[in-house]
Symmetry: C2
Subunit: 299 residues, 2 copies
């Protein structure tokens, strides 16, 4: 089974109290596709400008990320600049330049339309739904989202949610979307919007998966040092769906291990700026950390 990943492909300029790193490879699609690549060769859909560095194209190729659906348009690549405070839980956006994303409508190459596993990484919900419109009998569609779309595109988001199998969002977003302050009780409301599977991410506190099989309370991998959490959520869902796509079969049989792999790949993401640490890891290192995580959570 192959995997389609639709997401943003950006240049990120990230500042923490200790370091500044301009124009790193970033975006939800980049993080998710590289994370998925440890399990399966994903096909990435997105858009970049003519300024997109060749070294990042090489990086995708090195990770066997298929970029036939990565369109190059005249203009500048989407650029995000952000700054973290000391405790890394708070960040603020310094600037957002849409560049070639402005006016871009994703079109799937014919060969991509029959892919069975589809990850709609964070992007405007209208664009995410435009991907669904082009699919031919998908098996499992996962959507990530963010608070911005609840503020500016709630109708699009509610329309999207009726058509996805799994929704992934963080705890403050779950509260915002449902108006429920309790994350656990918000889950039944989120299911009513459409998705049979819901995952609420809680950063360093792990994640909760909800489905007909009940709840799975999943740990984050404990890290003594976090260098840059940008992209951790995208890495989480990328690895998760990559594992599901690779081990095609019963979602219920694979989903819990997929969540743990998500936690592990997200932990590598946090240990370096942008994709610096993720792109240095190996499947063997990921498996080792998975075994450590399993050991740390077995009673």
């Amino acid at each position: 089974m192959s995997l389609l990943v639709f997401g943003s492909t950006a240049l990120d300029s990230i500042s923490t109290p200790k370091k500044k790193n301009p124009r790193l490879l970033g975006g939800s699609g980049s993080h998710a596709a590289v994370a998925a690549s440890f399990f399966i060769a994903p096909r990435l859909i997105g858009v970049v400008g003519t300024d997109f560095p060749k070294k990042y194209i090489s990086l995708f190729k090195k990770h066997k990320v298929n970029i036939k659906g990565l369109k190059v348009r005249d203009g500048k690549t989407f650029h995000w600049a952000g700054e973290y405070e000391v405790n890394m839980n708070n960040r603020r956006t310094l600037s957002t330049e849409l560049g070639v994303v402005d006016g871009y409508s994703p079109v799937l190459p014919a060969a991509h339309r029959k892919l069975k596993y589809v990850l709609l990484a964070n992007n405007p919900p209208g664009a995410q739904e435009a991907i669904i419109d082009q699919l031919d009998k998908p098996k499992f569609i996962v959507a990530d989202t963010m608070d911005l779309w609840m503020n500016v595109a709630m109708n699009d988001l509610r329309s999207l949610l009726k058509r996805v199998d799994m929704l992934v969002l963080n705890d403050s977003e779950a509260r915002q979307l449902t108006g429920d302050d309790n994350v656990v009780s918000s889950l039944s409301k989120l299911h009513k919007y459409g998705p049979k599977y819901v995952i609420v991410k809680k950063g360093e506190h792990g994640a909760i998966l909800s489905s007909k099989k009940g709840l799975f309370v999943a740990p984050a991998f404990p890290l003594a040092k976090v260098e840059d959490p940008t992209g951790a959520g995208d890495s989480f869902v990328g690895a998760l769906v990559g594992y599901l796509a690779k081990n095609a079969g019963s979602i219920d049989a694979n989903i819990r291990k997929a969540v743990l792999y998500g936690s592990v790949v997200a932990s590598f993401c946090c240990e370096g700026f942008g994709l610096n640490r993720t792109t240095k890891t190996t499947r063997a290192e990921i498996n080792k950390r998975l075994r450590e995580l399993e050991k740390m959570t077995s009673a």
Copy 2:
């Protein structure tokens, strides 16, 4: 093996946005002893005033909490009044009246001095250490504490920590005590203060146990409704130490299951005001919820 529990025995007046409940049975010792009582008959050390309601004495007796070491002094029982905000993570103290706690020095009855398992629930660290001075060859001493003592009695606290086997504190307190913003890296600093076992509580996000055997990342029991979290941390550590004392033997062999029992009993505590829900539960109900929690965390 029997268990000694030293802690405060208080009357708590608790307000949430929905309800006000005056003069409930509260205090670290009350919560911890009742939580421990599901596993072993604990002996409670503390002090109350002549106004302490007889119904609470009956409640202790019903739960087989031995109160021979609960001293009655002329005057009023320690009284705490506090108020929770909507999200239950923020609370503020409205008033604290020490009453008979002022000038009280704990003296252990002779029969209590040889107890092997000792829980020093939250109390001034000087008073906690005064208990240790009276013990005859204890096997396992656990201390809970709070941010207040770091502000007003840091030297006493550092002195205490050299003499306990396990320290239990919450994540913001771990940060305050070590000056380390990262909870995971704070653990090694906390061990250097003395305790071989450290548990950092994270409320609804569970807890992390650190020992020579590595980390145990433990879940909280997911609750769709929290009525009053007062005493949840005391219930957690009370059940934990109660389980250890009952299953006397290798601490390492029992500690992870003890932490899970702590999470479960704390979850019952949160479902009612004060001890209202905890005192209505049964060991069978606790075991059922433990099995549910194990199911929710196994991959």
